[in-house]
Amino acid sequence: MKILRVAAEGFHSLGLNKLRTFFMMAGTIVGVAALVVIMAIGRGTEQKVMKRVQAFGPRAMMIIAGGGKDLPPPDMTVTTLVLDDAEAIRNEIDGLEVVTPQAWRFDMDLRHESNQTQSVVWGVEPQWHDAWNWQVVEGEPITADDVATMARVCVIGSAVKRDLFGDQDPLGKEIHCNKVRLTVKGVLEHRGVGGMGGVAEFDNRIIIPVTTAMRRVMNVDYVGAIRVVTKDPALMPQQAKQIRDLLHARHHISPPREDDFRIITPMAIAEMVRGTSGTLSMLLIALAALSLLVGGVVLMNILLISVAERQAEIGLRRALGATQRDIFMQFLTESLAVTFLGMIVGSLSGYGVSVLLARFTPIMTVASWEPLAVALAFALLIGTFFGVQPARRAARLRPVEALR
């Protein structure tokens, strides 16, 4: 095939001037790399969203005390969310599987003999285990009886167990919390870090009956939040509205007054997670677009210069029998080969940057093959768009004048 031989001439002349070839590639490399990183970040973000939503509970909603627009931690000074609100939601809203109030305090000092640690104390109802899908691996969970009797018992997280008991068996042992003695009746399964805004260490907590928490440990008559799990996720927006209306009525809130609670849904969590990487993506999209454009213009300029420089070569080729089309194809091949090579180098560097980002920054990235398809399309587009004009100019040189 003649066209292959002509294309080989294009490759050959690229190899003759490697520095020039590199400059022709530079824009494509940066642009494609940025594209690949953008898409890796996009995928990473979606995976993060999935993970957060999964950790939060895809069927769960949290009604949190305190107004405003920020996500947790809740305002602990707001006293209006009470156990009766939870009872009302349980009775009046249809399609809910679990409704469980919880009160909590950060930075509580725990002590067992001479060992001390700081922990988050959660006052919960028995449904809490199901609402969070979080069971005990040793001993017993919190029971309805514990709640009814304000029992002085607790279930501890694995980090608390490690800090207070080391290798000892904690079951039946006593710990002191705010001068209240609690007997350890169970240990929660290990869950790691993440969850509410990503700041909570899950395992650094103890759970106690909500009544015990309110009356004995915290001395309050309100709760921090009510967790709700729906039977059908499709009903969630509607149920959120019903809960809002119910609480408005119970708390006597009408429009001009701000809400004294917030309802957090998996959708809100997803939006929050996406928000943080959105700006970075916009920046990278701008960078990609700019470098592809500038790179294309540079490519075209270098090609035009090279056409001027290589007039004698073009004239010679014409004299030896190259047709206008042969010359056109050779220069277009050079342009396409450059952008194609730039695409490969750019993809590899983009992949490398994605891996580095994932390892050394909080940004999560997931590499995939789709960006390669997009990058290939872009490379061919740019190679053609910016290569045709110089190639046409080369083809139109008159042999007699080119040879002079």
Binding site: K2, R5, L16, G321, Q324, V400
Partner: protein
Amino acid sequence: MIELRDIEKTYYSGNVATPVLHGVTFRIERGEYVAIMGASGTGKSTLMNILGCLDKPTGGEFHLDGIDVVNLDDEELSHLRNEKIGFVFQQFHLLQRTTALRNVLLPLIYAEAYPDDAEDRADVALTAVGLEDRMTYRPHELSGGQQQRVAIARALVTDPEIILADEPTGNLDSRSGIEVLAIFKRLHRQGRTIVLVTHSDDVAEHADRVIVMTDGTIAEDRRVERPRDAERENAERTENGEQREETVT
């Protein structure tokens, strides 16, 4: 073989017409060795461009190997150049940083059908000009005379009807010039048609026939009584050179 009749060429630049050739007529038969002479500005180069199918006349008739060249389009002219004409230029026009072998293969790339034995042909062509041991050398590793011989091999590789040489010795010292002319002489002896464009009497004397251009027309078209034999001159020169070297050492 080559037949020109009343060839005219006028260049137009805006409204200004510059006639360069007015009515050139001659025939060159297969196997002839012809020198086209003339000072610069006599239309010698323009005539060469037309003979090389690089440019078309504005008037007259031109038949090459029976083909009516005047009515061909650009693509057909390209194919014609590729098949029928072997160019040798004053400035050699080799691709830099490219091996002699690859330079010689260049015309075959543009052939309609790339021959299976292309490399063998290039090999034969390079051997014919005495460069069988320089195949992988690049132009900057070769002397001027060697570069011009690579160019001659490139002209030969397609087995063209005509070798068209434009001042082939113009950039060479006299010794390399004789070497190149010796190659032409041998090709002529083997039956090739050679058209050599030059302004130098010395060079023209090697041909069998000289056509002299003046003011865009043919002033003279004559046989050379006793053409110089570059092959013999070159052989003698080499012998003398060797003898000289012996006396020096």
